[in-house]
């Protein structure tokens, strides 16, 4: 396909998307005729010409606001307005359907077609504009009954011309019905998202307007020049472009997820009653979205951003094996993330926890579209990760440069190698589980339906079969980054390279046989739990090997204390704390007591923030010179580290204490005895959050004002330092050959 037709096609498609977006809010109105599926399906296809008219007023009298169980109500439906009818002609017609209870005809004017549940007029009934009939209330007192009514006011002449019709909806609730909340008022995250949208729109208007005025360009010219900047990013298949996109998207979502985290902390600043700050439902969706965002849209994209950028460089390849597939993997991320966040625009995001436990997540319990969006978006993210895994595994097994044998790959490359293996085996399982959940919610299958004999624990098995390897998917690349940084800045090759590789591979294998430790409290078989406890504790062995190897690398090295190294040192400390609490939790009796408490929250934040995020922040400082050609500002970096490290520990360490004292997690409020520590945690968390702004500033500031880096600012040994900074388009002008120093040509 030539470029012109490509442009026209993409332009056309983008136009239609804009059209769709503009049509979105009105998607539920009926533009012409009675085209409602329900009605057409039920056979009422007459009078379908002409628009719905507000002249016609439909009233349904004698309908109680609260119905009594199984009571028979006689309702009267009346149509007024519309054309005046001829004296001897037809007057009108109607259609009524209720989603619960039974309608019943009581005279000759109305009838119910066989096999249907709606009532409508018959020939006789055409001569009226008022009809009466019975409605028998449902047997359950917890239903909200909706009546859908169509009324047709006709002029009695032949044909449809001059006939007016309208639609009406009425409802009646059982005594114990939980009436859906009116979503007229925006929730807190919604407000933030709207504010953010307004901000972005305003900014772009200001930027575009500014250029129009200052440069005296026409609107089209400005848009064209921006389009020239944007288009290469939309169409790129270059691993460095895609890596940059991944990293930026990842940190963008990290920012959003961080705001959600701070909302959680503000909610927990003091014991709050429902709706004091967030309502309890909003709190549920806030921690759901916080977890989902941080794991799937922040941590994993940051990891795969670095992998995209660095793996081809480290193994001496020009690009990944399937560059276009790589672009597809990337674009599924922001679009999938958008789908997950769509919930906020439809009255509440997914509120089932990042684990999406059934039966909370089945259609009976969680009826908001937010949860459906959560599932749909996660399916897209799962597909993205699967494709990424295929791509990387192929690349690393097939495209290493001459001399780069498996056992000469840098440890970061090895960590990604193990990671993609885990992804390959685990993420399809999660994606299928999500598809089953979606089928349950949307198409009425019964996989997780308890009433039909389905087993909600099956979800936990499928989820944690993926979920535990996922934890290592997130932490192993951090190990890789730490190994690179510590070795470079200790000016020594990594101690025990081979044992490091085997340790990572062992962690990868063990990760598939430990997932049961997430399910100690589900009443699992004691033998199963016991085995899982032992294998979980076994993870400490390879992990310990890694930590001791890092220490041994530093021992006797001449350590250079630059920001990346300081971050790496901090990470070793915080990760070790997180690892040790993990061993504590592996013990069944301890876990049963602590499982649903804040001790677990402290544990996984120490591993995920103190391990993954700290290591990759160090990674940014370390590889930023390679990516941009500039070195990041040291002073700002140090302030960033000091604030982050101190206030990270201040925020998360006390969670161990409140957890042991019995504060439960996933609750929107807590017992007053925990107030003081929670206030402390909240304040520390806010400072930790704001400290990250220094990092953002540093990234932007150094891009303009940073020192020039040269090809190899840190004197690193791996292959990525052998090419220019930033690397040229094809990464290497010539494929390098790796040799040991003592090897001859």
């Amino acid at each position: 396909m030539n470029r012109k037709s490509l442009k026209i096609l993409s332009l056309g498609f983008i136009m239609s998307i804009l059209l769709a977006i503009s049509a979105f809010p009105t998607g539920d109105s009926i533009p012409t005729g009675i085209t409602d599926d329900n009605l057409v399906k039920n056979g009422c296809t007459c009078h379908t010409d002409g628009p719905m008219s507000s002249d016609v007023v439909i009233t349904l009298s004698d309908l109680p606001e609260k119905y009594n169980v199984s009571q028979v109500y006689t309702l009267t439906l009346n149509i007024s307005g519309g054309p005046d009818a001829l004296a001897d002609g037809n007057q009108g017609g109607f259609f009524i359907q209720s989603n619960y209870g039974t309608l019943e005809s009581i005279d000759n004017n109305t009838w119910m077609p066989e096999g249907e549940t709606h009532l409508t007029h018959n020939e006789e009934g055409n001569n009226y504009r008022e009809w009466s009939f019975n409605w028998i209330a449902p047997e359950s007192d917890s239903k909200v009954v909706k009546f859908t009514v169509y009324g047709n006011s006709v002029n009695g002449a032949d044909g449809n011309a001059g006939d007016y019709w309208n639609k009406g909806e009425f409802s009646s609730a059982g005594v114990n019905a939980k009436i859906a909340e009116d979503h007229g008022e925006l929730s807190m995250p919604q407000k933030l998202i709207y504010a953010f949208t307004v901000l972005v729109v305003t900014l772009s208007v200001v930027v575009v307007g500014n250029r129009m005025v200052v440069n005296d360009q026409s609107f089209e010219d400005v848009i064209k020049s921006y389009w020239k900047c944007v288009y290469p990013w939309l169409t790129t298949t270059d691993h460095k472009y895609i890596g940059t996109l991944y990293i930026c998207t990842g940190f963008g979502f990290f920012f959003v997820g961080g705001i959600l985290g701070l909302l959680i902390r503000w909610q927990l600043f003091e014991p709050r009653i429902d709706g004091d700050f967030l309502t309890y439902e909003e709190y549920n969706s806030t921690f759901t979205m916080h977890g989902t965002t941080m794991i799937f849209m922040a941590a994993m994209p940051i990891i795969f951003g670095f992998a995209n950028y660095l793996i081809p460089l480290q193994i001496g390849a020009r690009d990944l094996a399937f560059p276009r597939l790589n672009a597809l993997s990337y674009w599924l991320l922001p679009t999938g993330g958008f789908v997950v966040y769509m919930g906020y625009f439809t009255g509440g995001a997914g509120d089932v926890g990042w684990t999406g436990y059934t039966p909370y997540a089945t259609g009976d319990s969680s009826t908001t579209p937010g949860t459906d969006f959560w599932v749909a978006g996660q399916i897209m993210l799962g597909a993205s990760s699967t494709l990424t895994a295929i791509n990387f595994l192929t690349t690393m097994l097939r495209m290493r440069a001459p001399g780069v044998t498996m056992m000469r790959m840098p440890l970061f490359a090895w960590s990604i190698f193990v990671t993609v293996f885990l992804l390959l085996l685990s993420i399809p399982v999660f994606t299928v589980a999500l598809i089953l959940l979606m089928a349950d919610r949307t198409f009425g299958t019964l996989y997780f339906d308890v009433a039909a004999g389905g087993d909600p624990i099956l979800w936990q098995h499928l989820f944690w079969y993926f979920g535990h390897p996922e934890v290592y998917i997130v932490i192993l690349p951090a190990f890789g980054v730490l190994s690179e940084i510590i070795s470079t800045f200790s000016r020594r090759p990594i101690f025990g390279y081979t044992s490091m590789v085997y340790a990572m591979a062992t962690i990868g294998i063990i990760s598939f046989i430990v997932y049961g430790h997430h399910m100690f409290t589900t009443g699992a078989d004691p033998l199963f739990r016991f085995i899982v406890m032992l294998t979980t504790m076994l993870v400490a062995v390879p992990t310990g090997i890694k930590i001791f190897n890092w220490l041994a690398t530093m021992t006797g090295g001449s350590i250079v204390l630059k920001t990346p190294m300081i971050f790496a040192l901090g990470t070793v400390i915080t990760f070790t704390i997180g690892g040790i609490t993990g061993i504590i939790l592996a013990s069944i009796p301890v876990d049963v007591a602590l499982h649903d408490g804040y001790f677990v929250v402290a544990h996984f934040h120490y591993v995920l923030v103190g391990g993954t995020i700290f290591a990759f922040l160090g990674g940014v400082y370390y590889w930023y010179p390679k990516m941009t050609g500039k070195i990041m500002n040291e002073k700002l970096g140090l302030i960033h580290f000091a604030l982050s490290f101190i206030f990270f520990n201040a925020a998360f360490y006390p969670m161990h204490n409140v957890g042991i004292e019995g504060m439960p997690r996933r609750y929107a409020t807590y017992d007053a005895q925990f107030t003081e520590l929670n206030e402390f945690i909240t304040i520390a968390a806010f400072i930790f959050g704001f400290a990250q702004l220094i990092f953002v500033y540093n990234v932007i500031y150094s891009y303009k004002n940073g020192e020039d880096a040269g090809n190899n600012p840190w004197d690193g040994w791996s292959l990525e330092w052998a090419t220019a900074s930033p690397p040229p388009h094809n990464s290497f002008t010539e494929i390098p050959t790796l040799k040991l120093a003592e090897e001859e040509d």
């Binding site: 396909m1 922001p334 295929i390 099956l458 388009h729």
Partner: protein, 306 residues
């Protein structure tokens, strides 16, 4: 170098992903709300718009391959032999099939988990009467019409042969035979889907079950206890239905995707003709197609015989 970059760039993945997102958004908005169905059918419009975008992206992607008439530049130099000299694309395909193995392992293990937990209705007849849950295997509903499943099995196995013959013909520079064998594969795959759709329809409407329950034929293997399915057997009637339709449906979806790929292969074979140098795509498709067959070899006994 920058020219090079523009040459390889493609907007297809971006458009494809926007399409996928809109498809899901439309689907959710139209069907959301669990039992109460607060979704609005007006949003199917967004769903179809998304599908259009998805297909646009897909066709733009395929277009690049469509214009190629050799495999030059498709493969990358390999300095380390791993599993001999297979191409990188084929290697990627094998790894993709590994993920697919996980997909069907998940479905089958979910099925076995339910199947193992519940007593079969005829394994212990006395115990099962009036007891809920009680597993009435899909196999018993199909048993009287098993012949269609058998035909399907042979159709798929035969199609595995024809796709290999197509590859063989291409290697021998026989483009006409290649096209013919590809068409034969398509026909067999289509036959599979048609019979399957018919079978599904009959089961959904309960015809098989009522045949099975013919009072004249009643014997110990053909008793009519638990007329759970007198109104039909569909994915929302019971766990038996759910596992049967979702698993065979996922397999059917794979066959369907294979048929779309076959359409492309047939058209491409007609246009350029595969030959000695240029037959890699058929081989890649063949791998996928064999895999779909192998899955059927597991699905068939699990759901039709067991």
């Amino acid at each position: 170098m920058s020219d090079d970059h523009e040459h390889h760039g493609t907007i297809a993945p971006f458009i494809f992903c926007i399409g996928v997102a809109l498809t899901f958004i439309g689907l959710v908005m139209a069907t959301a709300g669990g039992e109460d169905k607060t979704g609005d059918t007006g949003y199917w419009f967004v769903f179809f718009l998304g599908l259009a975008g998805l297909l646009t992206g897909f066709f733009m992607w395929v277009q690049d391959y469509w214009d190629q008439d050799s495999e030059e530049g498709e493969d990358i130099e390999v300095y380390h032999d791993f599993w001999g000299t297979i191409t990188t694309r084929k290697f990627g395909m094998w790894i993709f099939l590994l993920t697919e193995v996980m997909v069907f392992s998940t479905l089958l293990s979910a099925y076995l988990r339910y199947r193992a937990a519940v007593p079969d209705y005829d394994s212990n007849l006395a115990e099962c009467v009036g007891i809920d849950p009680c597993w009435v295997p899909a196999a018993d509903i199909i048993r009287s019409h098993l012949i269609f499943g058998v035909i399907n099995t042979f159709a798929l196995l035969l199609s595995s042969l024809t796709v290999v013959l197509a590859l063989y013909a291409a290697r021998n520079n026989n483009p006409k035979a290649t096209t013919r064998y590809l068409m034969a594969t398509f026909a067999l795959g289509a036959l599979f889907l048609i019979l399957k759709a018919w079978e599904w329809g009959e089961m959904k409407n309960g015809h098989f079950w009522s045949d099975h329950c013919d009072p004249l034929k009643q014997d110990i293997a053909n008793h009519c206890i638990a007329p759970k399915y007198e109104h039909g057997f569909w994915l929302d009637t019971s766990l038996e239905g759910t596992t049967f339709y979702i698993t065979t449906g996922t397999h059917g979806a794979h066959v369907f995707i294979g048929l779309i790929a076959l359409l492309y292969l047939i058209a491409k074979a007609n246009k350029d003709g595969y030959n000695e140098e240029y037959h890699d795509t058929i081989e890649l498709f063949g791998l996928y197609w064999h895999y779909v067959d192998v899955v059927w070899v597991f699905v068939f006994p699990f759901f039709y015989l067991y």
